[in-house]
């Protein structure tokens, strides 16, 4: 990187040096003047690069966190459905109930049966590694080698491994304890996010796990990167071979709801077309058993996200962590807000709200147990039935994550007693859930206090005072967490009491950041090792690296701008009362921020976003047209529709995946239509049937009436081609 100090210390040095030689610097000497000029010019270049680098970073981060907000919007969408939607046809009814079926939750025995692998034959033609249990170190080496050669592990062994992993994890407490007196050093790694090359690099630089080499992997092994499954397999293998030396913490991405959006589900289904669903089901039941935290020498606490002002390690130790298969939940149902204007589609008659329904807090994806449906002819009764059925389903699902009195798996009398801590206060499932959520989703902030993390939609922002309190309460020295990408792979905050460690290099783009891991010896002094897993990154000059990452960031930003075209036009028009078609660049910056709300330095970014001005004014319509030109791939689709798709694409993709229960990648035309209608009604978008039909006609879909939604997403360049 360029000069760390932009104010040059050496200036004074050169004066000193000259003094020693007893001559003053000859400022009139042409070489001197020339040198000063060149240095002045060059330092300005470096400073500009530095600014560009930081702005690029800000762009990526703000877009990433805005995407996580989408998850909340999705939850709101489903809550909205529960609150407002009344299907008026049997097709709609079936469709809705499919939306709420995300797969059943299994009891132990059922799980074993469903994810059975023993009957799977492994053909002789299979040349990959064959695992036998208990695992031995040479099998781990074989796996590493196989993955380097891009081989795939046979699904039988995958399932077998997952079963064994689950059995092992069940015995572990919520908080793992590591001691530096047994193995001299402990290595802590942060987010890997499916980037296998980084894991290989870590093992290469640091050595494989062994009785003399302890590792803690601090969550977020999966999603975004393309080799999440391989990373899981390797980590689980080492976990089973060296159970005393390898420790895994759960991250917020060890959650199937998050995986639906961020790519892990897709990766598994693509790699294992036949058995993928089983594998995913097993993984769900492995993730929920991952420990929540690790303690080194009772002094250093390692958690994935962070803490909140209510975090309590004693409580954390007691909760039943496996109850939280997913940590994400839908919002609480509002008390009936019946004045909300609803563009119900296909509704011929309105039905009255059932007063009895205003009770419980819904959560997502309840298990259906429908009573037989009444006939369609009595609309009122029918819609009451739907609501009731849906309500029952919701209740059932709630029982999975809330306090339960009924036939939960493994909820024995003793565990019920332990919930109500006899010596202490009675804890609710709500409180337990918050403990877990905060650990997995929180971020540190510079200001004091603790407030809700609205950017991510889960967990808290915690200040240095919160950190201090918890360190004192549990007699700790510092915290290690991950969860946030850092340019150098690691970063301290809260007066070095909180360390963020992030192990996925080039996370946003090649050259965007280094990865790092940290080693702790008995003195608990952290030693860092940084790396960057891409050869290309090394051969580029700093300027080239920054340009490349910058290009990527601005592409993403322009896409976001395009997705908000209509809102932008309204905002610009507000500054253009005389309808000249132009606004000042100052107003441009203010307007853009008011629409996008990314908190970016727009005036600094302007040169890259606005190429031409007339008398210092921007012709905003043609600017927006230029943006559209870049994005448009389907000429004949009305541009507002395209804009809508872009703005909501990750939600759309997630919804598609939820509907596609068997993970086949196909949904029927009818379902597609329904999805679209529901979604657009929720988002208050005016769309005609023709608009939707145009959209569908532009996709090549099979004659059997199914749509490959991956093709759909790619056709609109909603998904990068490389995926």
């Amino acid at each position: 990187m360029g000069s760390g100090s932009s104010v040059n210390v050496n200036y004074k040095y050169s004066l000193q040096k000259s003094e020693n030689v007893q001559t003053l610097p000859d400022e009139t000497h042409p070489a001197f003047k020339a040198a000063v000029l060149i240095q002045r010019w060059y330092r300005r270049h470096v400073a500009r690069l530095e600014m560009r680098r930081r702005c690029t970073w800000r762009i990526f981060q703000s877009i990433e966190y805005a995407c996580e907000q989408d998850q909340i919007k999705l939850h709101n969408f489903f809550s909205y459905l529960v609150d407002h939607f009344t299907p008026s046809s049997s097709k709609e009814r079936d469709f809705i109930s499919r939306m709420f079926i995300s797969g059943e939750s299994f009891k132990e025995a059922e799980l074993e049966k469903y994810c059975d692998y023993e009957s799977m034959e492994v053909p002789d033609s299979y040349t990959g590694p064959r695992l036998s249990f208990p695992l031995l170190p040479d099998q781990a080496t074989a796996l590493l080698e196989a993955f380097k050669q891009k081989q795939q592990l046979h699904p039988r062994y995958v399932l077998n491994l997952l079963h064994e992993t689950r059995k092992h994890l069940k015995q572990l407490p919520n908080i793992s304890h590591v001691s530096t007196c047994y193995s001299e050093e402990v290595t802590v790694c942060g987010d890997l996010h499916g980037q296998l090359d980084d894991l290989f690099l870590i093992f290469y630089k640091n050595g494989l796990p062994s009785p003399s080499k302890s590792y803690v992997f601090n969550g977020d092994f999966v999603d975004r990167g393309k080799q999440s499954l391989e990373i899981l397999i390797i980590l689980f293998t080492f976990l089973l071979i060296y159970p005393n030396e390898v420790h895994l913490n759960r991250g917020n991405h060890e959650d199937h709801m998050v995986n639906l959006r961020y790519g892990f589900t897709k990766e598994v289904m693509q790699k294992y077309k036949v058995h993928g669903k089983k594998i995913l089901k097993m993984i769900q039941n492995v993730f929920c058993w991952l420990p929540l935290a690790t303690l080194i020498d009772q002094k250093v606490l390692i958690i994935h996200g962070g803490i909140s002002d209510t975090t309590d390690l004693d409580v954390l130790e007691k909760i039943q962590r496996n109850k939280f298969i997913s940590v994400l939940r839908g919002k609480k149902r509002k008390d009936s807000n019946r004045n909300v204007e609803i563009q119900e589609i296909n509704r011929e008659s309105k039905t009255e709200a059932d007063p009895a329904e205003k009770e419980a807090a819904p959560s997502l994806f309840p298990q259906p147990r429908p009573a037989p449906a009444p006939s369609m002819s009595n609309r009122q009764e029918f819609s009451r039935w739907v609501r009731q059925t849906v309500q029952e389903q919701i209740e059932w699902c709630r029982r999975l994550v809330d306090i339960s009195e009924s036939e939960e798996e493994e909820l024995t009398y003793s565990s019920v007693v332990s919930l109500t801590d006899l010596d202490g206060p009675c804890r609710t499932r709500e409180e337990d859930w918050k403990q877990v959520l905060d650990i997995l989703w929180s971020d540190p902030m510079p200001q004091e206090g603790c407030r809700a993390n609205t950017v991510r939609g889960g967990g808290c922002y915690f200040g240095p005072d919160v950190t201090q309190k918890i360190l004192e309460k549990h007699n700790l020295q510092f915290l290690i967490r991950s969860h946030e990408c850092k340019q150098e792979g690691y970063e301290f905050c809260h007066s070095r009491k909180v360390l963020t460690i992030f192990s996925a290099s080039n996370y946003y783009e090649i050259g965007s950041n280094r990865g790092a891991y940290v080693k702790l010896g008995p003195d608990l002094v952290p030693h860092f090792v940084q790396y960057q897993a891409n050869k290309t990154a090394h051969t580029l000059t700093m300027t080239q690296r920054i340009s490349r990452v910058e290009e990527s960031a601005f592409r993403a930003l322009r896409e976001k701008l395009f997705a908000h075209t209509s809102a932008l036009i309204s905002a610009f028009k507000a500054y253009d009362k005389d309808n000249t078609g132009r606004i000042t660049l100052s107003n441009w910056a203010t307007a853009v921020e008011s629409v996008l709300r990314l908190g970016l330095p727009w005036r600094m970014l302007r040169p890259q976003l606005v190429r031409s001005t007339v008398d210092g004014m921007l012709e905003y319509k043609s600017w927006l047209d230029d943006l559209a030109m870049e994005q448009r791939s389907q000429e004949h689709i009305q541009s507002s529709l395209l804009e809508v798709i872009y703005r909501n694409r990750s939600n759309l993709e997630t919804i598609f995946r939820i509907i596609d229960r068997d993970h086949s990648g196909l949904i029927s035309f009818e379902e597609f239509h329904q999805t679209w209608k529901l979604f657009s009604s929720h988002m208050n978008i005016e769309l005609t049937d023709d608009g939707i039909n145009d959209l569908v006609r532009s996709i090549d879909f099979n004659k059997d009436g199914n749509i490959d939604f991956n093709e759909f997403l790619e056709a609109f360049r909603l998904v990068k081609q490389s995926q």
Binding site: V7, N8, Y11, K33, L37, Y42, R44, M51, P446
Partner: protein, 163 residues
């Protein structure tokens, strides 16, 4: 770079101030309106100025606290920097002037400077480069086959980069 605005002077000043605040905030890690004193150079330069190190030191003297804490506050920086931009201090360096500067170091006027010579000039004369700065410039400027810097080519590459 005054921008066309409704009310002339005031708006222009307001816009300049907004720019300065934006640039400042990029380096304000703790979100408390302060930046590390070592980042001031980057901020000033990215706002379009080409100060020498000596000029930067002068500017710093105006914005630093009586007891230098290592941090600069926005409220002190803003008026000083606004004046700098309004006065258009620390003007940019035109391409031909830059070219002359390189030519001055090229005694034989052969169109290139050897690596050794350039390193000597830039790390010993003027406001010397640190080793890091020198290496960084060489990584783009140096032609590895001849071990020289063909400065005309280098300047044109860099100028393109400046947008």
């Amino acid at each position: 770079m005054a921008e066309q605005a409704g009310n002339g002077e005031d708006d222009a000043v307001a816009e300049i101030e907004k720019k300065i605040i934006e640039a400042f905030e990029v380096f304000d890690h703790e979100c408390n309106q302060t930046v590390d004193v070592r980042e001031i150079g980057s901020i000033v330069r990215s706002l379009g100025c080409f100060p020498t190190e000596a000029e930067l030191h002068e500017l710093l003297a105006m914005v630093e606290e009586e007891e230098p804490t290592g941090y600069i506050h926005l409220e002190k920086f803003l008026p000083v920097m606004t004046k700098v931009l309004l006065d258009r201090s620390y003007r940019p360096i035109p391409e031909d002037v830059l070219l002359h500067a390189f030519e001055a170091l090229d005694e034989n006027k052969c169109g290139y400077i050897t690596k050794e010579k350039l390193v000597k000039y830039l790390t010993e004369e003027g406001e010397p480069f640190t080793q890091e700065e020198m290496e960084d410039m060489l990584s783009t400027a140096l032609d590895p086959e001849t071990n020289t810097v063909r400065y005309r080519d280098y300047i044109s590459v860099m100028t393109v980069d400046e947008t």
